[in-house]
Symmetry: C2
Subunit: 155 residues, 2 copies
Amino acid sequence: MSGGVEWALHCCVVLTSVDEPAPAARLAQLHDVSPSYLAKQLQALSGAGLIRSVQGKAGGYILARSPGSITVLDVVEAVDGPAPAFVCTEIRQRGPLATPPEACTTPCAIARTMAGAEQAWREALRSVSIADLASDVGSTNPGALAGISTWLRQV
Amino acid sequence: MSGGVEWALHCCVVLTSVDEPAPAARLAQLHDVSPSYLAKQLQALSGAGLIRSVQGKAGGYILARSPGSITVLDVVEAVDGPAPAFVCTEIRQRGPLATPPEACTTPCAIARTMAGAEQAWREALRSVSIADLASDVGSTNPGALAGISTWLRQV
DNA sequence: ACAATCTCGGACACTTTGTATCCGAGAACA
DNA sequence: TGTTCTCGGATACAAAGTGTCCGAGATTGT
């Protein structure tokens, strides 16, 4: 999985506690990561409609929807792409003993197993929202988001 | 995920129906894939103890254990490595507002969510064995494994 | 109305991982 | 004992991920 997913998730949690747009450069400074590369991830989130970009002098990024309606799966798919990790090559239809195409109406057992496992993974990520992550941070580290919110406003 | 996982799984299913060692080159010919690259995957399976290599003139690969005791997860971890897809960089401890290390006794909410999802994925793969895959092939395509078994013996 | 300044957006190099290949070491058979 | 076949690790090639840059566009203030 792409490493930028972690950055994107942290940024979404941070954006929960701000109401004014936050510039990408400032978010990168907060996390001490590459500003240019973080911009790429934020672009992906913007393209997926999870966050909204505001251009101009006081521009930046803000959440496009309610934190409770954005799931972790949404962020992962936006950054890493919606393609599944396992893709069946249908090698059962290749080679000297290839099974005829008319007998391949359903996916093979291997493909079904992999698809089921990825479905379970996807479901687990869909059951957690950005709001859940933010509330967890608020309980384990009280006042952290408030401090970040004020810090983002400062010059 | 590495594409060689599919090849390795198909080879394990095929090895279910043979009792004599099957050479890697013949398995590659059966599936119409790169012989050299398939050899790499079989080496990984051999190193993990899932299959056993027999050198010499009538050598090849055979299953090291009962098909029911080898899970799909075993094969995936042997080929793709046991490392999890998501690795937490602990970026909460970086930047100007870094949380102190003494407050980071437990993994953050993001890391826990990802770990839980991967656990569900791993559990789904662990619940399916090579014997299950072979029996499925035997029911949807009767006689296929028998034909492969005889073909592997031929010159 | 206009210019200045700050923002995002996509196009451009570099590094790491995955893909594919080859030849040497070792064991069984004649 | 020699031959032939096998696996095993070390070696090139390709693709995707990582990181960076500059131009297009909008807002703010004059």
